[in-house]
Symmetry: C2
DNA sequence: TTGTATGCGTTATCAC
DNA sequence: GTGATAACGCATACAA
């Protein structure tokens, strides 16, 4: 079911008694065109535009100008605590522009990623911001080759024309684990993210670095891996840690959501936090401050992340030439709360 | 920066040695066209399509067919625990279609809503699913008048051609409060949602109904309002309830997120839950089962919500005529856990 | 069974 | 300053 009552530039032209060309000129006057319309004519056109409530058809505009005014965000999941914050930050940033945002969760499936990216190309999307674990350089190249600007959050294959905005995950992890050490802990475990993901790998690296720097021996039994997006695995991992003959006195959990789960496992197993067991998380999602004890964790400025990503992306879209790849590393800080 | 290397139907036609018309015919053959192409020709075209990896340009297609293959979801917020689940459910449902999903959070601002809706019309979006607190019948009418299908979740102005999918909020609230009554509670408070929102109003109504049915007098001091999306207000509301000379022995909180906050306020004020104080929530977001004590709450099947909304929407989009408004009420059930 | 011609709503080139 | 006209990539009525 489709009807069509929207006015076109032709309607405006007729009402104003001018040609469609002239209408187009006054509409696009602001955006770069040399001003060559008489005040009289402009007024007539503008009046007609207002009277008809005319707005250029985006589909036609897209066809003609090769710009869809569409942006996309591709993340592993859209129902997690973290990614919606990212989406929201991005949306805020493009609020007053003509751009709309397509949001897509890949469920961490490479096939989904590729299919979605193809559909974006086909749709002529102007730019995409993505956080992904599996994208190859060829995939990125296909995107930029088809004229879509891309900014990626987190680690990704290097590409000469793809921007990258990240936090220093390793350093942040190292800092918060070092805080544990400074509090006297020597037996520190970790519920790590999957080795196959950059956030899993990098944060674990930070954990290892911190222990090494403190002269604490690495013990394999204290390192257990869980899936960021499968709560059962986190719960299982923590239970395993706490069931050890000599359980750790502190645990670095690679995400806040998993940390909250771990917290509950600890409570269920009658550890008291932070007295018997210190727990720290990562990301500082709102939930971190909502639980008791409140979670000590690594704070990231997600709004800044979104703002930065959009800025890079729009610059890229607006540029006449390919901008060489840029990388920006955002700051973080430790939120000292009650859980450690 | 935009390049253009994508093949057009013209390229395919040339490679296959036929006209663009013929290409168009074989491409759209499946979708309704009468099959009037020789096997020989079809094979040649299909070969060329495959070789060039040709896919029709969506912008051109949109201009020609008046279908953008774009859907939109408009909700108050996209960073809350609830709405991303809705978005995810919708996305799952349209996964294998040609549709992409624009997601927008209005931050509960009517101006934002209107601006966004206008941009959707301008973009020729095929359909929109929305949950909103402020949309008027005129707004809906403008949408359908411009050929966009609309399905709304939750209460909204009635419109002859807008579908509605809801849960029975009042009944659900009544049930869970009745459960409190059955557990012996007579002094039951509520952290209610804003009177200006349907979910606030309806759930409070259910609370009142339950008390009335149980012959319990309504006490104004036990009813305090909070904003679903402002954690401070929930915290403040609960604190007020528990500071009463005679605090309630049970509290019905109008959303799980606010319930978790309330839980923590209770803990901070040294009430033990559920012994001193029973708390129940609403919606059954994942968080509800993650906290301790686990939250007793009203479970909604969000996947079904998404599935149903998409189904109604697509039917509407595919229909040649305007389908009279439909309403579907989804079931709910109480999740009995530990907090009450 | 296939091709020609036209138009969707816009911007851009060029002439007036 | 302003207006024909073409073109973007596609689908379709109509002709062949």
């Amino acid at each position: 079911m489709k009807s069509n009552k929207r006015p076109t530039s032709k309607d405006v032209a007729e009402l104003a008694g001018v040609s469609r060309t002239t209408v187009s000129y006054v509409i696009n006057e602001k955006s770069g065109g040399n001003i060559r319309i008489s005040d009289e004519t402009r007024r007539k056109v503008l009046d007609a535009v207002k009277k008809l409530n005319y707005q250029p058809d985006i589909a036609a505009l897209a066809l003609r100008t090769k710009r869809s005014n569409l942006l996309a965000l591709m993340v592993p999941h859209i129902e997690t605590p973290f990614h919606p914050l990212f989406a929201s930050a991005i949306q805020n940033e493009i609020e007053d522009s003509i751009f709309d945002l397509i949001v897509y969760g890949t469920r961490d499936d490479y096939q989904h990623e590729r299919t979605f990216l193809d559909s974006l190309i086909r749709r002529g999307v102007d730019g995409v911001i993505t956080q992904t674990f599996q994208l190859t350089e060829a995939d990125l190249d296909k995107l930029v080759g088809n004229g879509v600007a891309v900014v990626v959050h987190g680690e990704c294959p290097t590409h000469p024309y793809v921007d990258n905005v990240i936090f220093d995950e390793t350093q942040a992890a190292r800092e918060i684990v070092t805080y544990l050490v400074e509090n006297g802990h020597r037996r520190i475990g970790t519920v790590a993210g999957p080795e196959g993901t950059w956030c899993g790998r990098l944060r674990k690296e930070g954990y290892l670095n911190a222990l090494e720097a403190a002269g604490i021996a690495i013990e394999d039994e204290l390192i257990v891996e869980a899936d960021f997006f499968d709560r059962e695995t986190a719960s299982h991992a923590m239970r395993r840690l706490l069931s050890l003959p000599r359980p750790p006195t502190a645990v670095f959990v690679a995400s806040d959501e998993m940390a909250v789960i771990s917290l509950n496992v600890a409570v269920d197993m009658e550890f008291s936090v932070p007295e018997d067991l210190a727990i720290v998380g990562f990301n500082d999602i709102p939930l971190a401050a909502m639980v008791r004890p409140r979670l000590t964790t690594v704070h990231k400025d997600i709004d800044l992340l979104g703002k930065t990503a959009v800025k890079l992306l729009l610059e890229r879209i607006d540029s006449e030439v390919q901008i060489p790849a840029r990388q920006v590393v955002l700051g973080h800080r430790i939120m000292y709360r009650e859980s450690a």
